[in-house]
């Protein structure tokens, strides 16, 4: 067992030595892996930070009920009181047709033109504010359908406030992160497998000799696997440094922005766990790529 470990350490050191002997191409591939891993890492941080921001806000979502013109203020008040008893409703605000008209006059600037109208054309409006736990789009949708079916209601309309749009965008970004990660992982696989392929071609004579004296594929593969894993590991390290650099540059302006909004928000960088994950992903991809590449090229290689 000790001899076995010793041999692995020897191979590991030999692989390190080999990488060090070709510093140019090693640095190139490690750099490319680093950039490739840094991109999804940054996007991940963006999503994680944005999620933290959005969890600080809630509310702002409501359903507007436009009542039929025949419904008077009394009836509107009664309906409001009735709706307020629903489990999913927090409270209901009544905007009478008069209030609506004066608000509209103020906001639109059509004051005088509206004065000329013989009767108030605006219906009464109920603003239904849901309980926070019913703020998800699905439950709101259900509520809107139910409210729409009330006889007094002309139109029920959900106000997708920007908080909610923000959630949708976040969801999309999270999806994009997954797609992007898969694509970039593929890119890392291709990069590493190509450098391993070149290494194998360069050492073809040596590999053939080892095959001739009874070296197994496993034995021959081992240094290449280590080399691939090392490249992935170093690439992960480069990614961590790049991400830290980017955050260093972005942090001051984001802080200014947060202060403007009176938020105590602080940008978080990579934690220990996330950094270790990046290193592990780099190593795993390096191993996978070299395993694949070595398997493909060694099985074709036969001693002459």
């Amino acid at each position: 067992m000790r001899a076995y470990l010793l041999r692995h350490v020897q191979v590991l050191l030999a692989s390190l030595g080999q990488l060090a002997r070709a510093p140019g191409s090693t640095m190139m591939s490690v750099g490319v892996i680093g950039i490739t891993l840094a991109l999804p890492g940054l996007l991940y941080l963006l999503v994680a930070n944005a999620e933290r921001v959005s969890s600080e806000w809630h509310g702002g979502t409501h359903v507007s009920l436009f009542l039929h013109g025949t419904v008077d203020n009394d009836q509107a008040q009664k309906l409001a009181a009735h709706l307020a008893k629903r489990a999913d409703v927090n409270r209901v605000r009544v905007v009478s047709s008069e209030q609506a008209l004066s608000e509209f006059k103020e906001l639109s600037g059509f004051g005088e033109a509206l004065d000329a109208l013989p009767a108030n054309p605006l219906p009464s409006l109920l603003v239904v504010i849901p309980e926070p736990q019913y703020e998800q789009p699905e439950t709101l949708e259900k509520m809107v359908l139910e409210l729409q079916s009330l006889p007094a209601v002309e139109l029920a309309q959900m106000d997708m406030q920007w908080v909610q749009r923000f959630h949708v965008i976040l969801k999309l970004t999270r999806r994009a992160l997954i797609v992007l990660s898969v694509l970039l992982a593929l890119a890392v696989l291709l990069i590493v497998s190509n450098t391993i392929r070149l290494a194998i071609v360069n050492r073809r004579a040596e590999i053939e000799i080892i095959q001739l004296i009874g070296g197994t594929d496993r034995f021959i593969r081992r240094p290449f696997l280590y080399s691939g894993m090392l490249q992935g590991f170093l690439g992960g390290g480069v990614a961590i440094v790049l991400i830290a650099l980017c955050l260093h540059l972005l942090r001051p302006p984001i802080q200014v922005l947060a202060n403007l909004y009176g938020s105590g928000f602080r940008v978080t960088g990579l934690g220990v766990f996330e950094s270790l994950t990046i290193l592990a992903i780099g190593m795993g991809l390096g191993w996978l790529a070299s395993r694949w590449s070595a398997g493909r090229h060694l099985s074709r290689m036969q001693p002459a």
């Binding site: 041999r7 095959q211 001739l212 004296i213 009874g214 070296g215 034995f219």
Partner: protein, 222 residues
Amino acid sequence: MIRFSQVSKRYPNGYEALKRINFTLEREKMAFLVGHSGAGKSTLLKLITLVERSTHGQLVVNSKNLVKLPRRQIPYFRREVGVIFQDHKLLHDRTVFDNVALPLVVSGVGHRETGRRVRAALDKVGLLGKERLFPITLSGGEQQRVGIARAVVNRPPLLLADEPTGNLDAQLSDEIMDLFYQFNQYGVTVIIATHERRHIQRLNKPVLELKDGRLVNDGAPH
């Protein structure tokens, strides 16, 4: 040790390099393999080390049926056969010691045991003082002896040499042949492919002769 029964080898391009070869070489025997250039000597040795696969017939080496040996077993089989090449096939970025140690390293022999056996092998071929040198700094005869040390270091029961003295002068060439003779005296089965009739007369061993891919002399006493 080696039994060829109706063995043929047709290369992928259609050329039939060996045609229905039959011969047997008993354990602990030594034989020369001769024939004109292109007769099929190297091909025959490659069949024994499974560098090439026979395309017809039965081939048994060291009690293993090579026709049925699966690919993943080939490395382990090769460890039972020491091979010496005309062009040495040494690793030029490793020392003499590391070159000779390679067969032990691939089969996972421990550190101390490796050192002991490598020095014993180098001692046998008379290169004990040169273990720290790189092959490139050695003469052709010395490089060939490094190759021999590597072939015998894990004490295989069978030794194959493909024109091991091709580029050497008569005296060096005799020394190398004498080494093989000694290994055979220790009980190793040996086949040497060669052009030089001189060795055959000198060492008086049976001869397998190929001509255009056919065995015209199977080495059996008449």
